[in-house]
């Protein structure tokens, strides 16, 4: 079945390519027009880098797309050596971050992704469009990451150049599949601005998390209130050394809130595990410390639909 799926999927993409080429041949343009701009006469590599993009598609022989970003080049064409366009992206005389971004926003401001650009952190921190988007292609630093079966570039490599704390967090043993390229930073955050804190796409942390983890939406017959209030009370979504992205090792995470008679406040320590401090099997191993600790019994930690005490104490 798997081999069949491979063949079908590859045939589908190959057919797509063939039909595209056929369409190109059959839909012959009435004239062999060219949108290669005059700028390519000297800046061929810059033209080549955008030729296949929307920017290239909208260009024309006079280089109107080039000038839309790099400034009027009419004098520059006449005297390339001495008359430079007022290029806001020039390394020698760069414009301010806001001025650079306004170049892009002149066309893209109406894009729905940019609805809340002005309210976002990146705009406030002078992060420009060109900091993340490489219009002409940019060589990037070597990727330092574990092997992944994905061939695609990883968005996190871009975000991680500034957000080093997050870059390190996603490398931790318990993490969302970001380094595996199965999730992107922009799945949860809108880097183009949002009204929510930390530019979440959804209006709250819980709405964000349950958009994927729909099984945690509830409503539960017996909810666990800190779960309803904020997933981040217990979890670090970027990565953790503790399992299930928790902030602290259990049972301590639970005991930081639950201190009661008998086992909630029980003293779990070095001789509560599988082995004694001497390394021999422990005849007094505590079922509340080993394995999943509190969750061995209180499994329904996000809420329960069980009746009576089984539900109230989240054991079923």
């Amino acid at each position: 079945m798997r081999a069949g799926a491979v063949v079908r999927a590859m045939c589908f993409c190959a057919a797509l390519a063939i039909s595209a080429v056929a369409s190109a041949q059959s839909a012959a343009a009435p004239q062999q027009a060219s949108n290669v701009p005059v700028c390519a006469g000297c800046h061929e590599d810059k033209w080549t880098s955008i030729a296949m993009s929307a920017h290239g598609a909208k260009n024309d022989a006079s280089g109107s797309m080039c000038q839309a970003c790099h400034g009027d080049a009419s004098e520059h064409i006449k005297d390339p050596a001495n008359a430079k366009p007022a290029n806001p992206f020039s390394r020698l005389t760069p414009a301010t971050a806001g001025e650079q971004s306004n170049v892009c926003l002149a066309c893209h401001a109406g894009h729905r992704e940019l609805t809340f650009w002005e309210s976002g952190k990146h705009a406030k921190q002078d992060v420009t469009c060109a900091n993340c988007h490489s219009i002409h292609g940019k060589e990037r630093n070597p990727v330092v990451a574990p092997y992944t079966t994905s061939f695609r570039p990883n968005e996190a490599d871009v975000c991680g150049t500034c957000h080093q704390q997050i870059r390190s967090a996603i490398m931790k043993p318990s993490h969302h599949p970001i380094i595996e390229n199965k999730m992107k930073c922009s799945d949860c955050h809108n880097p183009h601005g949002a009204l929510s804190p930390v530019m979440l796409r959804h209006e709250s942390v819980n709405a964000e998390c349950t958009s994927c983890h729909a099984d945690k939406r509830g409503p539960f017959m017996f909810p666990h209130p800190p779960v309803d209030e904020n997933c981040l009370s217990c979890h670090n979504p970027h990565g953790s050394v503790h399992y299930m992205l928790t902030n602290e090792h259990v049972p301590n995470l639970c005991q930081d809130c639950h201190d009661w008679s008998k086992h909630p406040g029980s003293f779990y320590q070095g001789n509560s595990g599988w082995l004694t401090p001497q390394g021999t099997p422990n005849s007094s191993v505590s079922t509340r410390l080993i394995a999943r600790s509190c969750l061995n019994c209180h499994n329904a930690i996000h809420g329960s639909n069980a009746p009576g005490a089984r539900g109230k104490f989240l054991t079923r």
Binding site: F12, A106, E180, L195, V285
Partner: protein, 704 residues
């Protein structure tokens, strides 16, 4: 949506591209096809941690990329790992300024444990049965714990009637397999537990529609979303040896419906360079179920639960409103004023289970339905002295009103200030300080009648998520390029939380984090990147151990300590560090070498102390201790402009030590005891994850 339908749809769309618009320029097509193989040699009893989100099984690796456009139409088709558990396919396209679309499928394996064991049969179903006692783990059933997630969906957006646009999105996420779960066997911690494999057969289907009006100076949109989550197995039944080996029930996530309406609006180009942004959302989450009328109890009897309602109707309504005004009131000063409102209203069925039920609470079990209302407002300003110096400051206020039993009103005030300097061509530096003050109204100050009443303890339990808090954080960031081809980046974060007035609970936590990156070399010839970080995190907490509830003043933490009832104190420490190096070397005009080496280590421990050393406190030396090595090497040889060949090798090594798993056994007690109805049964999840993997792959790529 099946593959035939997808292929047909794509073919139709492509044909539509070609005929729908007269084009000036011919189609340009480029792409690449990659195929090869992967071989993995793994050692370790359970290699699931290495393969957690990856399919490393030997077989074919493949990748296709085709990109095409003319002056009006475009498409991107991409697919990788066809037929593998981590397959990804995406097709995007459209006609510039007229419409665009995307169709995709993204498969994600989630491997939790390989060669797990269970005394139960029926793994993967909603009924797990066994005959107890089960004293020989070697005779148990073996299985792999984990599930496969498949996300398939797409969108279509119409822009042809700009400034109006219309968009529809939809996706279907299915998860199937098993996940971690367990069940307490009795009603007391001493009655044992059993690891269970919860069946996973989830489907989440989401559709949304959006319409909007968008120009350079204003944007308005309205969107409606409907999402339905279904679970084929809302109840898992399993043999419970403690209760007469009858079938017990664990209740899994119910089907739910989620609906959301969102309204967005933005007005730009207002006076003083202002932009006014606003958003309103209303959402409703609902489900319903019959309330279980019986529950398995002592002696294998199904005891009546005696609820005051036979059905539970879940109904949670959330409303939010956000508004933000950004302005430049005077030259060089940018400001932002904002307000956010959140209302969480749980209108679900209020249930009480009679105390006369054997499976109810002593005073009856009533469900607690949590509501809150939050008001958040703030102001920020950025003053630019000149292009190289800027000073920012802000104040954020948050007020929470909720129906929690311990805290009803909580207010946060956060003040922050930041200075950024870029006056030197080679250095950019930023330092930020913030102070957060949280104050909360504690409702349990008079809880309980006296120190012999268990409720009296509530006077002293202060839960860190709401307790009064003083937080200080400092962040320093420096980017330095001292000479050509070399750049470095350094970041330091310090955070200190002091939970004020806390007697029992988390009293403090602190973290120091250092991150650094350095890169050197000509990007067109060779470049090396070094990265590293060190993090030091401590949590302090104070607790009370109460073993003798009948002792005098048992529930008073200020009472004299005894060998049964005493206070104890813990400091949990997580020290972890990461170092990595990456290299890109363009050895010749045809040969490129890329390499990466990462090493991560974490050392966790818990220092514990107690009054008078009661309980014989011994530190926990291994508390989530990890060592992970990842080596990734590949060589790419470009035979000509069309053909290239890649050979790669990767090595992964993972080691894990933790008191909860070192010396692991499948039963408690071990050796297992026949006729012990309170014996615990474990399946090996997380217990044997030390593993190595050698991964070899070769690929051939044809570009066109």
């Amino acid at each position: 949506m099946n593959r035939t339908a997808i292929s047909t749809l794509i073919g139709g769309l492509l044909a539509a591209h070609s005929v729908a618009a007269q084009t000036l320029y011919p189609w340009l097509i480029e792409g690449a096809v990659t195929a090869g193989g992967i071989v993995t040699n793994e050692s370790g009893r359970d290699t699931s941690k290495i393969e957690e989100y990856r399919d490393l099984n030997g077989g074919v690796l493949s990748n296709i990329f085709v990109h095409g456009r003319d002056d009006k139409n475009w498409f991107d088709a991409y697919g990788e790992n066809f037929g593998r558990d981590d397959m990804y396919i995406s097709l995007r396209g459209g006609q510039y300024d007229v419409f665009k679309y995307r169709i995709y499928t993204n498969w994600l394996p989630h491997n939790l444990a390989f060669a797990a064991r269970s005394p139960y049969s029926g793994i993967g179903t909603n009924t797990l049965v066994s005959s107890f006692p089960q004293t020989d783990p070697n005779s148990w059933n073996q299985f792999d714990l984990g599930f496969q997630r498949k996300d398939t969906g797409g969108y279509f957006e119409w822009q042809g009637t700009s400034p109006w646009y219309f968009r529809v999105d939809g996706n279907r996420v299915s998860s199937s397999g098993t996940k971690v779960g367990s069940g307490a066997l009795g009603t007391s911690p001493g009655n044992g537990f059993a690891d269970l494999a919860f069946p996973v057969s989830y489907v989440t289907s989401t559709v949304s529609a959006e319409a909007g009006y968008t120009t350079r100076s204003m944007q308005f949109s309205a969107a409606y979303m409907y999402s339905r989550f279904t679970n084929d197995n809302p109840v898992l039944q399993w043999t419970n040896p403690f209760f007469g080996s009858q079938l017990d029930s664990t209740y899994l996530p119910l089907d739910n419906n989620y609906q959301r309406v969102a309204l967005n609006g933005v007005l730009r180009d207002l006076p003083y360079g202002s932009t006014l942004s606003a958003r309103y959302t209303y959402s409703k989450t609902t489900n319903d179920t019959s309330v279980a009328q019986f529950a398995l109890d002592s002696g294998g009897i199904y005891a009546p639960t005696l609820p005051d309602s036979s059905t539970f109707n879940g109904n949670i309504r959330d409303q939010t409103f956000s508004v933000s005004l950004t302005s430049t009131p005077v030259k060089n000063l940018d400001t932002k004023i904002y307000y956010n409102f959140y209302d969480h209203d749980n209108q679900s069925t209020s249930l009480t289970f009679s105390p006369n039920s054997p499976v109810s609470c002593d005073d009856g079990c009533q469900n607690f339905l949590y509501d809150y209302r939050k008001n958040n407002a703030g102001v920020e300003g950025v003053y630019r002295f000149d292009r190289a110096n800027r000073l920012s400051a802000g104040w954020d206020y948050l007020s929470i009103h909720q129906n929690r039993m311990d805290y009803d009103d909580v207010t946060n005030n956060k003040f922050w200030v930041e200075y950024k300097n870029t006056s030197l061509d080679t250095v950019s530096a930023r330092i930020k300080y913030w102070y957060l003050e949280r104050r909360s109204n504690f409702l349990e100050g008079n809880a309980g009648t006296g120190p012999n009443d268990p409720n009296y303890l509530n006077r002293f339990i202060n839960r860190f998520d709401n307790s009064p808090l003083d937080q200080n954080q400092v962040k320093v960031q420096v980017d330095w390029n001292p000479f050509p081809l070399f750049d470095t980046s350094f970041e330091y974060i310090y955070r200190d939380n002091h939970y004020k007035d806390t007697t029992l609970g988390r009293t403090a936590d602190r973290r120091n984090e250092i991150f650094a990156t350095a890169s050197y070399g000509d990007l067109k010839k060779w470049r090396v990147t070094l990265m590293g970080d060190y993090e030091w995190v401590h949590y302090d907490s104070y607790h009370r151990n109460i073993s003798d509830t009948n002792a005098s003043n048992a529930f008073d933490p200020f009472a004299p300590a005894s060998s049964s009832n005493y206070n104890w104190f813990a400091t949990n420490k997580d020290d972890n560090w990461l170092i990595g190096v990456g290299l890109d070397w363009y050895a010749t005009d045809k040969l490129t070498i890329k390499g990466s080496l990462l090493y991560f280590e974490s050392d966790g421990n818990s220092d514990v102390m107690s009054q008078n050393n009661f309980g014989n406190p011994l530190p926990i030396e291994a508390y989530d201790n990890w060592k992970r090595t990842s080596l990734n090497l590949k060589a790419i040889y470009a035979l000509n402009k069309n053909w290239s060949f890649t050979g790669g090798y990767a090595y992964e090594r993972t080691r894990y030590n933790d008191i909860a798993f070192d010396g692991y056994q499948y039963t408690i007690p071990f050796p297992p005891v026949a006729n012990n109805t309170g014996q615990s049964y474990l399946n090996g999840y997380r217990a044997f994850t030390d593993a190595n993997a050698n991964i070899f792959y070769v690929l051939a790529t044809f570009r066109f």
